[in-house]
Structure formats: C-alpha cells, structure tokens
Symmetry: C2
Subunit: 80 residues, 2 copies
C-alpha cells in the first residue's frame, strides 16, 4: 500500500523557504502570486494487512521521526 504523508507547518509558524520562493517568483515577473508555503511529502510504500493497521503505523512514524510536533502537523493520504 502506498500513502503520501504530508508534513506541513502549523498555523503561525514562519515559512522562510516559502517566503523566499514567493519573492523569487515575483522577481521573475509572476506578480499574481499571493502566497507560497512549502510542504514536505514522504511517499511511503508499506506492507500491512489493511489500511487501518497501516495508518496506525504511519501515524507512529510521524510522531517518532517524520514530523516535529512543536511546529509541524501531518496528514496521511492514500495513493493506492
């Protein structure tokens, strides 16, 4: 089973990479860009008996390694 694990910044946390990207896009002439934020995605292929079991495991991975709970939140989306 394949899932996309989205790691994004919580509301109110500064996103300097997104800000820099927005500035660069505007300098290149893309004046319609209102905001840019960045998200990290881990596409994880996992063996499990069912989606519930896999989702439990993916949540544990986020809490133990993939996300920093102080500034980031995560979301799991199934690809297949």
């Amino acid at each position: 089973m394949k899932a996309d694990v989205f790691i994004e910044l919580k509301e109110g946390v500064a996103d300097p990479e997104g800000e820099a990207t927005k500035k660069a896009l505007r300098l290149l002439g893309f004046k319609n860009v209102k905001s840019v934020s960045t998200v990290k995605v881990f596409r994880i292929d996992i063996d499990a008996r069912n989606k519930d079991e896999a989702e439990e495991e993916l949540k544990a991975m986020c809490e133990k390694l993939l996300a920093n709970p102080v500034i980031q939140k995560y979301k799991i989306e199934w690809v297949e």
Copy 2:
C-alpha cells in the same frame, strides 16, 4: 485560487533523503516499510481569471524556477 505544485524526482534518479528516511524508520522498528521517496510541494495562492490561465502560469513557474527539468517532474493539483 490555491494549487499544490508537486515536485518529484524522475524515475531512476537517486533519492538519498528517501533512502535515509527508510533506513531510519527500519532502525526504529518499522519493518513493514518497503520504500520511501520524497516529494516537495509548493502550495501557491494565485490570482487569475480562471483555472486555465492560472495553470499556464504555474507551469511557467515550474519551468523557470521550481523544478529542475533534468531530474525532476512536476504535477499541479487544485486545492480550491
């Protein structure tokens, strides 16, 4: 309008960050992980008259700045 621009590595391009993440997850005991690959997402809020126009502009952004066409491909998904 908000779009998620997914920047992922082309087939066959090494993904050391994904490999390292897989190793770390397995060391933590997540033995069911078969593979991990990483994708970068730029969530872009853009002003445009319609989605076609915005999509053209987002493609231009990818080609000029966001993606490296030698090793990366991009995909645009509408959030709202």
